[in-house]
Amino acid sequence: MAPNVFAVPVFFICFRECLETSIIVSVLLAFLKQTLGPEQDPKIYKRLVKQVWWGVGLGLLICLAIGGGMIGAFYAYGIDHFSNTEDIWEGVFGIIASIIITIMGAALLRVSKLQDKWRVKLAQALEAKDTKKGKATTRFKRWCEKYAMFLLPFITVLREGLEAVVFIGGVSLSFPATSFPLAVICGLAAGAAVGYLIYRGGNTASLQIFLIGSTCFLYLVAAGLFSKAIWYFENNAWNKIVGGDSSEVGSGPGSYDIRKSVWHVNCCNPELNGGGGWGIFNAIFGWTNSATYGSVLGYNFYWITVMVGFFLMRYKEANGHLPFMKAKGKPEDATMSETSSEHGGIFSETDLEKKTDAHQPTTTTAVREIEG
């Protein structure tokens, strides 16, 4: 028998984790290139691209450190911190990531509709130093906007990286060390290659079509993440009930809580042994072989919320106010514009709309321009 130099599960784990990350990173990079490309505003473009890569790098570094620490703790003290807390942090990271992707996705799509010069200016505005001291929440929001291009890749890499460490740790005992390097490199390379293809595709397609397509894709991932996060919380509760790691019993009876099961097939488990193709299916579409009421409802409500959100955004864009709400009267306008000037943010729909609600924009803007 030939020496085992290629651990297939490890390849699939690396591939799927790298795939999710590279989808997000390549969409962001393609977006930046198309909107702020070197010919538009090279300085800001460079800075934002740097942000993306900083996010990737720092996320990688931290997850390597934590992963290394966990493995060290495992070998030194025999403490398996992975399986005890894995479900919790998977769930928490999943929800955070899905919320960030959702907000970013809407914001990118919205920004793409602006004319080129406005986008550049907006980017410059984000980069500019805040002259006003707002409330803490406002400043936090501004900060998030400014570093959004950093935050999203950072959180994504952190989550995927830790997941990869845990998953690989879970299957590592059944493979010799020699079977790892090639599988890891191939997995990462395959994931990165897909990301590069997306990036290239994004640069050649029209910005709007690319962004519509990639936003759909991002939202599929986010919906899966959201649903899976709920699933992880439920799995954590189930593990507490049965007093152990239920995945010990594979995909069969006992691996899930029958009372909460919507469907369960004793195969196609995206978690076991790297999950193979089902793991990829899970990474992109949120597939699970054991759906619960929570995860199915979560998935559907996520999409319903997204749809309602986009309808409301469109309605406001068209009518200037939310459905069933009259446009605000003059007296309130003065105070509204006062306060909203402290809030404002392109990624914050409500603030954006509050300003459009004020029916005297041109003059105010003019005044402010002079002030500025």
């Binding site: 996705g105 799509l109 793409s112 509709k113 602006l114 004319q115 406005w118 200016k121 907006l122 505005a125 984000l126 500019a128 805040d130 002259t131 709007q208 519509i212 936003t215 759909c216 939202y219 599929l220 919906a223 009930i241 049965v242 239920s246 069969g252 009876p253 006992g254 809580d257 029958i258 009372r259 919507v262 469907w263 369960h264 097939v265 579409f285 759906a291 199915v296 998935y299 559907n300 999409w303 319903i304 997204v306 749809m307 986009f310 309808f311 955004m313 469109r314 864009e317 200037g320 404002g344 392109i346 954006l352 709309e353 300003k355 459009t356 924009p361 041109t362 803007t365 321009e369 500025g372």
Partner: protein
């Protein structure tokens, strides 16, 4: 606790009571079955089922030919009960066998059932409740039947009887609820809290140098098999489960739950030291071994009361005597020609309620509404048709005097001790571990004079074959004697010569009174239907199986999820494609201006 004289006094008293008659006597017991508080391992007080306010239960020492009458009054108040005299053939008295839902109704609190039967056998037995999951709460005791024609009569000076047992600090109903639960999908059996010898942990036997003793050892635990050995002494096995065997020397014996052994032990000629005897629970059976668990229990052969009771030495490995090799003294030869083969494939699996159950041939036993014996007695000519006994009882109808072969294939990684009521059987084949299913064309040679007993263990993922003659009309259970598995359904019902049974058996009115008090029907098929006996509608059934894959619910959920994903993407596309209104541009402008970036509006 010294081996109390009561073990010997009791039969002595009985003999006195009955005028020292050597021939058949009638022995009557008035038993009030009640709760008492006990603490046999010194670790926890717990409510335990006692008799007449006593626990450990009376050690019965009777004589072959005796008629036994037990007036069993249920004084528990909160549970039904029953009594089964384990190993008794009950030939002609099938209704006295004791399993609830099979041969009788559970005795409800406040009722009395009279058990009345003759002891036609001799050897080592025990009695216990055959109400679901009850005997490990204390209702089990030893029964030794002396035989004036014992082939080893005269070879021993004294007899010693004691039990081995596992012990739980919690009561069975609660443990059973946790065991058969969606919370325990792997079917991990509750692990005992300690091991007992003679229902204590400081059991001693006074030994006189030079004498020979006949030891009767009974494992009446709920779950754990036990290894048993006596330091520096060899045991000569002479009887298992009431069957006398040629002498077989053993250093270590393995007793599953419900198995018994008698052995001759010759005391050292002189000794000033005492010797440990150890019962060690077979931890292979345990899912987890708590750090607090001591799986061993030690007793002592006391030659010299003034000497120390030594701590037993550790053993390197467990290498017990293989009971398959024993040879019965009566020389009964192998039943060569099998008339009917019963194949039972054992597996553990989960049902639709998420809990783990045990199965024979994919059926997990559930008690019928009408005790099976009563169905036999009230079904006329239909009694021969297996269909009336229910779809969850694993019923087999056996013809009178047929030679029956039971092939048991263990598709589970655990050891299982199987017990057949009403018979002992010839152990024809027992495979090694992991041998898989029995292959009739490829097996070890059958022994010419097979070992017989009434409880026999199958090895993990192995098989065994046993044979017996259906010469005892009655309804007899065949089941795993691990109480957890018994209650999760590892039971089959042998209905032996039902038409013959109808002709010969009379069930006393007292038994029907008990059923009436318990509100249990006594006529009709397994479902209690008396018109159409093949109509099983309304019968007790096990939970539905787990759905094999996508159910309607799952498909609807998957379709809904796909539809909402596509709708969602459609909305995103629609929004992304729609032009931006001037008002939004203005808002963006303002955001820019607030940041102080100069906008050159062309």
């Amino acid at each position: 606790m010294a081996l109390s004289l009561s073990n010997f006094l009791l039969p002595l008293l009985m003999l006195l009571q009955h005028g020292l008659v050597a021939n058949a006597a009638t022995v009557t017991f008035d038993w009030n079955i009640t709760w008492v508080t006990t603490n046999p391992d010194g670790m926890a007080d717990r409510p335990t089922i006692g008799i007449n306010g006593q626990w450990p239960l009376p050690a019965l020492n009777l004589t072959k030919g005796d008629r036994v009458i037990v007036n069993a009054y249920n004084g528990l108040g909160n549970q039904s009960t029953s009594l089964h005299f384990h190993g008794m053939f009950q030939n002609g008295t099938n209704e006295m066998d004791g399993p609830v839902g099979v041969n009788q109704c559970g005795i409800p609190p406040g009722s009395t059932m009279v058990y009345n039967f003759t002891l036609d056998q001799s050897g080592t037995y025990w009695y216990h409740s055959h109400q679901r999951g009850q005997y490990p709460d204390g209702l089990r005791g030893t029964l030794v039947i002396n035989d004036p024609e014992n082939p080893y009569a005269g070879e021993f000076d004294e007899e010693v009887t004691f039990s081995l047992s596992d012990w739980y600090h919690d009561q069975m109903p609660g443990l059973m609820k946790e065991f058969i639960s969606y919370k325990n999908p792997t079917g991990a059996e509750p692990v005992p809290n300690s091991a007992l010898m003679n229902d204590t942990q400081n059991f001693t036997v006074s030994i006189e140098p030079g004498k020979t003793y006949l030891f009767h050892v009974i494992n009446y635990g709920a779950f754990a098999g036990q290894y048993f050995w006596i330091e520096d002494h060899t045991m000569e096995i002479v009887e298992v489960d009431g069957v006398f065997t040629e002498k077989a020397a053993a250093d270590m014996i393995y007793l599953t739950t419900a198995q018994r052994v008698s052995f001759l032990l010759t005391a050292k000629n002189s000794s000033s030291t005492n010797f440990a005897m150890v019962g060690s629970m077979d931890t292979d059976l345990f899912d987890t071994i708590p750090s607090t668990l001591n799986p061993n229990v030690t007793g002592w052969l006391v030659y010299d009361k003034s000497s120390d009771l030594p701590t037993p030495a550790l053993v390197d490995e467990f290498d017990p005597y293989d009971d398959f090799n024993l040879v019965p003294t009566d020389g009964m030869e192998l039943y060569e020609n099998v008339d009917y083969q019963v194949q039972l494939d054992l597996k553990m699996d989960n049902l639709g309620d998420g809990a783990n159950y045990a199965f024979f041939n994919d059926v997990s036993y559930v008690s019928p509404k009408v005790p099976t014996l009563y169905t036999v007695m009230t079904s006329g000519a239909s009694a021969s048709s297996v269909g009336i006994y229910g779809s969850n009882t694993n019923a087999f109808v056996l013809g009178k005097d047929e030679v029956i072969e039971i092939v048991l294939n263990n598709d589970d990684a655990g050891k299982h001790p199987f017990h057949l009521h009403g018979h002992n059987f010839q152990a024809v084949v027992r495979s090694d571990e992991d041998a898989g299913f029995y292959d009739a064309d490829n097996h070890t040679a059958f022994p010419a004079m097979p070992m017989r007993r009434d409880t026999f263990m199958v090895r993990p993922n192995g098989n065994f074959v046993v044979r017996f003659k259906a010469d005892n009309p009655g309804v007899w259970l065949f089941h795993c004697h691990i109480e957890w598995h018994m209650d999760s359904g590892l039971v089959a019902t042998m209905i032996e010569a039902p038409l013959e049974l109808q002709k010969t058996l009379t069930i006393p009115q007292n038994h029907f009174d008990v059923c009436k008090a318990a509100g249990v029907p006594t006529t009709g098929n397994a479902a209690g239907n008396t018109e159409d006996l093949l109509d099983l509608s309304g019968e007790n059934k096990s939970p539905a199986p787990l759905p094999a894959g996508f159910t309607a619910r799952g498909i609807v959920a998957l379709v809904f999820s796909c539809v909402s994903a596509f709708l969602g993407m459609a909305v995103i596309s629609w929004y992304g494609a729609a032009p931006l209104r001037s008002k939004t541009v203005i808002a963006a402008k303002r955001r820019i201006s607030q940041a102080g970036v100069v906008v050159e509006d062309k």
